[in-house]
Amino acid sequence: MRIFFATDVHGSDRCFAKFVNAGAFYRADAVILGGDITGKAVVPFVEENGGVRVRFLGEERVVHGDEIGDLEKRVADTGYYAHRCSPDEVARLNAEPDLITPIFLELMLARARKWMDLATERLAPHGIPCFVNAGNDDPRPVDDIVRASDYVQFCEGEVLRLPDGTELASCGYANQTPWDCPRDVSEEDLEERLDAVVAKLDDPRHAVLNFHCPPYDTVIDTGPVLGEDMRLKSGAAGVLTQAVGSTACRRVIERVQPLLGLHGHIHESRGTFRLGKTLCINPGSEYTEGILRGALLELRGGKLVSHQLAAG
C-alpha cells in the first residue's frame, strides 16, 4: 500500500488542488492531509472606480474586469482570502479589527467546503480514500465542514483504517506556541489527548500516528528563536534555532513505538528522525510558493518498506 502524506497547506488553493491530484500522480492508495488547512490572512479588495484596489505582496494596484478574478486566484493560491468590500467597510475593519472575525471564519469555511467538493470530484473516480485532519491553527468550525463531506474522512481524535487495514490515529493539537492558536494546549493536556486516541488502537505497534505536532528534539521540530517582538534572532552562527516540538508527543511515541509518525507544524523542519523503532516524518511546507511538500510511504505486511520526501 502506498500512502501520500502532506500537511500545512494553510488555505492554499494551489496546494490543495495538487494534494487531491497527488493520489493519481503518485499512484497512491490513500492520501492523508495532516492539518493546518486554513489560511492566515484576508486581503481586502476595495471597490474603486468600477474596479478594485488591492495591496498584495507589497504591491498596490487597481484592477478591473477579468483581472480581478485572476488576482483573487493568485491570492487564494498563496493561502489568503480575498474579500471584496467598500472603502467604508475597510475603514471600519481597520478601526475595529474584531469585526473581521466573522468574515474571516466565513471565508475559511467557504474554502473548506469547496475543497471537500474538489476532493470528492478528483479522488472518488479513482477510489482513493482521503483523510483530512485539522491542525492547531484551524478553528473548530472547520471540523464540521470536513465531517459533512460524503467522501473525505475527518481524522481528529479518531482511529481510522487505511486501505490495507493499518490503523491511523490522529491528533491535530499542539503544545503551546507564542501565537496562542485555536488548538494550542499545555503539554499535559496534549498528552491526555494523545493517550486517548492511542487507547483506541487495536495494534499500536503497527499503527500510523498522524500527530500534527512533531516530537521534541528530533531534528524535525527545529524552529527559529524569536524575540519578545516576534522577530527572528541571529548571532555569529546565523539564524538562531531551537527545538520546539512536543515532549508529550515524544513520550507517547517512545512508549507506543508505532510503525510510523506523520507530523507537520514546523514548515522549515523537513526531514525524518527515528525514535526507537518508529520513523517520524515531517515533509515540511512551502505552501506560499504553491509547492506541495509531501511524503510517499510504502507499507507492506505491517512494515514500512520505503519512504521518500517529495516536493510537487
Binding site: R14, F25, K40, A41, V42, P44, R55, L57, G58, E59, D77, L93, P97, D98, T101, F104, L105, D137, P139, R140, P141, D144, A174, W179, D180, C181, P182, T218, V219, P224, L226, D229, M230, R231, L232, S234, G235, A236, A237, G238, V239, L240, A243, H265, H267, G271, S285, T288, E289, G290, I291, E298, V305, S306, H307, Q308, L309, A310, A311, G312
Partner: protein, 546 residues
Amino acid sequence: MAESVQPDATTTPGGLFLRRSSGLVREFSPRDVLVFNIVAFSPGLSIALIPLSLALTVPNVNVFALIAASVAFAVCNGLTYAYLSAAMPRSGGEYVFLGRSVSPLIGFIANWGFTWSQILGMAFYATFTVSFGIAVPFFLLGATLHNSTLLSWSDSVTQQWPTFLIATGMVVVVAVVLTLGPRLIRRFLNVLFVPALLGTLVTMYVLATTSHSEFVAQFNSFMAEHGGGRTYESVVPDAAAGGFIEQAHTLGALINAMPIAAFLFIGFTYSAYIGGEVKEPGKTQPLIIMASLAVCTLFYIVSLGLFYNTVGQGFYNSFVFLSFTEAGTGLPAGGSPVINLFAGMMTGSSVLNVLMALSFFIWPFILLFAMATVCSRNLFAWSFDRILPSAITKVDRRFSSPWVATLLIVLATEILLAFYVFTTFFQNITNYTAIFSVAFWLASFAAILLPYRRPDIFEAAPPSARRRIGGVPVMSLVGVGNLILYTLSLIGVFRFPAFAGPNGTRAILFVVGIYVSGLVIYVISQQIQARRGVDLSLIYKEIPPE
C-alpha cells in the same frame, strides 16, 4: 458547541488582516540584517588573504578598481541568491534552486561539487591558520618580547609534522564542538566573534596611526634585528634584480584579477533568509542588504587603502616576490608576508600584537565551523532525498548533533589535510577556487531559467524578485551577469596557479572528476532506490494542479 475563531485579528502595514496563527514572525530588523551580512563577510580573513593574493597573481592591478569590479560580482552573485531565496525561502541553496529549475541531477552535482570545495577548503584554511594565524604571531610576539622560544616556535610550526598536528587539532576541535550540539556552537562562535572583530579594528587602528615614514623606520629596525639587515630601500631594487617587473595598472590586469574579485565578497548571500509566513516583504530589507555591501566595500577601501598607503604597494609587491625566491626577504619561515606581519612591525606593543594575532587566528578558524556546518546540512539534504544512506542523518540523543555527518566530513578533511601537508597533491592537482566557482557558475542557470521553467514559483515570489526590465525578469538578468562573471573567473583561475591552484591537465581533470563523481553517485543511487520502489525523479516533479 463550535467555538469561534480567536478574535485577535490584526492589520499589517500592508493592509492584510491577520489572525492568530503559528509562524507569523517579523523579519529581521535593519540592524540584524546589517550585522548578519558583515559577520558572513568575515572582514578579518578577507584582508589577511587579499593583498598577498594580489601580489602573487596580478601585482599590477589597480586595487580600488578591483574592489569596484568585486562589487559588481557581489551584486550579481548576491542578487542571484537573494532572488532565488526570496522565491523559495524555505528551500536553501543551489541544490534545491537548480533541482527545481533545471533537474534534481544537476542540483545534486552542483551541490556535491560545492561541498567538496568546502571540505578541501577546510584542509586549506586549517593549514593557512597555522602558517599565518600562528607562525606569524609567534614571530611578531617573539620579536616584540625578545623571546627566543617564541621565535623558535614560529619556525617550528611551519614544518610539516607540526603543521599537520596543529591543523588536525583545529579540525578535532571543530568536530568536538559540532558534536556537542547547536547551543555550544552558537556560544562558541558568539564568544570568538568578539576578539576576532576587535583584533581587526586594532589592525586598522595601527595602520591608520602609522605614517609611511614611521613604517620605514620601524621596518628597518625590525629587519636589522630579525631580517638579516635588509632595508626598506633595498627591497624594490633587489626584487627587480631577481626578475620582478613592476608594471603600470592596466585593464588587462583587472580582467585577469576577476577570480579574486569573485572571492572578495564571498559569503555575502547569507542575509537572503526572509522567514515568516506572511509575504509582506519590507521595503527596507533590500536597501539594508545593499547598505551592508556598501559598509563592507568601505571596509575594504579603508583597510587596503591604509595598508598600501602606509607600506607602499610597490614595496609590498616586491617584498612578496622576494619571499618566494631563493634570495628570500631575510626573514625566517614565520615571517610570511601577510598584512598582520607588517601591522605587527608597526607597533611595539605586545598587547596590540596579541589582539591582532588573536584576530588573524580566529577568523580562518571560525570559517572551519561555517564550512563544516554547510557540508553537514548538504549531507542531510541528500540523505533525506535518499541519494545518500539515511544513516547519515543519525543524531546524537544527548546533544542533538549530527555525529555521523560530522564524522564523515572531519575524516574527509583529515585525509585531505594529510595530502596537503605531506604531498604535492594540492600544489599539482587541486584548484580549490575552480571547484566552487563551477558550483556558482551552475547556480546562474537556476536564476536564468526559474521564471521560464517554473513560472508558478516565480509568480508567487515577492515583487522585489519579480521585477522586469523590458519584459525580461531581473532574476534572469542577474543570473546572466553571474554566469559571465564566473565564466571569466573560471578562465582566470586556470591562468593563475599562485592564487587559485594548479592549472595543468591533471588539475582540470580533477575538477571535472569531482563533478563527474557526483553524476556517478546520483545514477547509482537512482538504480538502488528504484529497486526499493523509490523514484528519485519525483523529488521535485511538479504535481499538476488542474
